[in-house]
């Protein structure tokens, strides 16, 4: 509950190491040329995993008040809402740019 969690060096270095490894992994996967759409899914999956690591252990959400996690999640949810409803238009138009 309290926001004063003290991380150990081991945790911090471990997380940084994992992030480094995942960066190398995502570049490596890029050169393998996985067929679409799996290439995007893998790249985004790795990015989301990295972001989660940063949020949980560098930004201390793992130990923090849950409301702060809720804030992060809801911001992502509303971003998803913006994208989803915009796509509902842009992906379903008869012509991409009507009238031009």
């Amino acid at each position: 509950m309290s926001g004063h969690h003290i991380s150990t060096d081991k945790t911090l270095l471990g997380v940084a190491g994992a992030l480094l490894f995942l960066t190398i992994l995502t570049v490596g996967v890029h050169y393998i040329h996985i067929p679409s759409p799996w290439n995007i899914i893998v790249a985004m999956g790795i990015a989301i995993f990295k972001a989660t690591l940063v949020a949980m252990f560098f930004m201390n959400l793992y130990w923090d008040e849950q409301f702060n996690s809720l804030l992060l999640i809801s911001s992502i949810a509303f971003f998803a809402l913006l994208v989803a409803f915009t796509l509902l238009d842009t992906l379903f138009r008869p012509e991409i740019m009507p009238g031009f």
Binding site: F67, S75, F85, F92
Partner: protein, 579 residues
Amino acid sequence: MDTAESSSTLNKIQVQRFKPDDNPDKHYLNEETGLWSWLTTVDHKKIGIMYLASITFFFFIGGLMALLVRTELWTPAKTFIEANTYNQLFTLHGAVMIFLFLVPSVPAALGNFILPLQLGAKDVAFPRLNLLSYYLYLAGSFIAVYAIFSGGIDTGWTFYTPYSSSTGGAVTTMTFGVFVIGFSSILTGVNFITTIHKMRAPGLTWDKLPLFCWGLYATSIIQILATPVLAITLALVAMERILGIGIFDPALGGDPVLYQHFFWFYSHPAVYIMIVPGFGVVSEIISTFSKKHIFGYWAIALSSLAIAFIGFLVWGHHMFVSGQATLASMVFSFLTFLVGIPTGIKMFNWTATLYKGSIKLASPLLYIFGFFFLFLVGGLTGIVLGSIALDVHLHDTYYVVAHFHFVMVGGMVMAFLAGLHYWWPKITGKMYNETMAKIACGIIFVGFNVTFLPQFVMGSQGMPRRYFNYIEQFQPFHQVSTIGSYILGLGFLMVFYYLVKSIYRGKQAPANPWGSRALEWQISAMPPLHNFHHTPVIINGPYDYHKPMEEFQLGLAESGNGHGHDVEVTKEGEDLSAE
């Protein structure tokens, strides 16, 4: 109290009664004086008053522009100003009223003043940020005003591309001004949410939170989620004009409809930024003047959040004729009807609160009745506009103009005036002239209807909005509307006159002129510098009119630490006779 026995394992705190002085010598205005103390103040009450003065100023500027626009429309052709001037006037009327008046009106002006008082806090969570957000608002306003004199803008307040990225004038300056104001709005939202979460007095649990706070909470959520998207959108318009990036410019391969999506992702929820705090004001006043517990507390509180949420799902109903996909139009139209549900819940709960209440028809309540009638018309015509087939006919006509004025002026301005009258004794320590207040309310109500009812008629007959010239068959409607706008203007001037007069000539207000149970009325008529000399302790909800007044004036008996929201207040050890 049934909690007394069940709470033996929880922290107990000693409370005693603090009966407020009506008019103590020292209050927030005379403890620190001088211009410098105002300009550098971090006191939420003074910042609220500075906001109040600023928005009043801009309200009259915007109102003056509206009167000029209406006067110009007296005849079908040119009456007294050029078409280009006319375009700039309606653009600025919209931009000033929305960004400089409506958005900050209740949250930043009244909210700033009242929120910490209702929470039993000494100030908002970030007082310096609060001052910064006022100065950002002021800076943004000056940039916007500067834009008027350095070329003007004629895009309408919506800045639609590609017109806004190609027209002359000071669009870039104006978007920058709005960007800065948006930043101010975001900071206010950040401040309020944190304040409501972290600064509540001991015992003030979520189910005892005044509904005005719930309204501000829902508003702040919209502010922090929607405003950044407007900021980036306007930044993109500015970049189009400066660097020609072309995201929204069809000539460079961009998509102008995408602009409308981003713009309305903010601007539809922004409608709720303007109206939801007004709902909060209504709940407070209805309960106070019917001396009755609010009907359906949770229904009203949660319907504010529901409106805030649904408000994010409906923006495409502004774009039915923009060329967006039919599928999107259908989904948006369907979701638009859902807004009616939480809004209806509120209306029914308010009327149910009045039922069998001990109603005192004072001027704040009179304004609220005006709100009911006008907002109902505004809301129902919104449902009409939400259905695709009708909207294709009514889009960009005076019907739309009348609809959103019924919501924004009839709803929000009425609620704002009600709140202003309600809290005026707390803000200034003076009572205004009640008779004049009632007359002014009547004049505003009549003037408003005379102005905007004819617009529904001519709109449904096909009169397009924003036009300089019109065909002669619409002239009678336009003339009635113009006359109505003068009556409306007169009403607002009257309000300004007697409120300002009351500061100098009004009689001293008692600490609690309305007999309200809410916390902000349990301190002296003008609050002390740091709001409370004691740490208030809350054991009853703000609408528990069936309980005696002294149970609402409790505070920590000794200076200890009652904060932290897991503290359960019991009546054990409480000494009501001690003062």
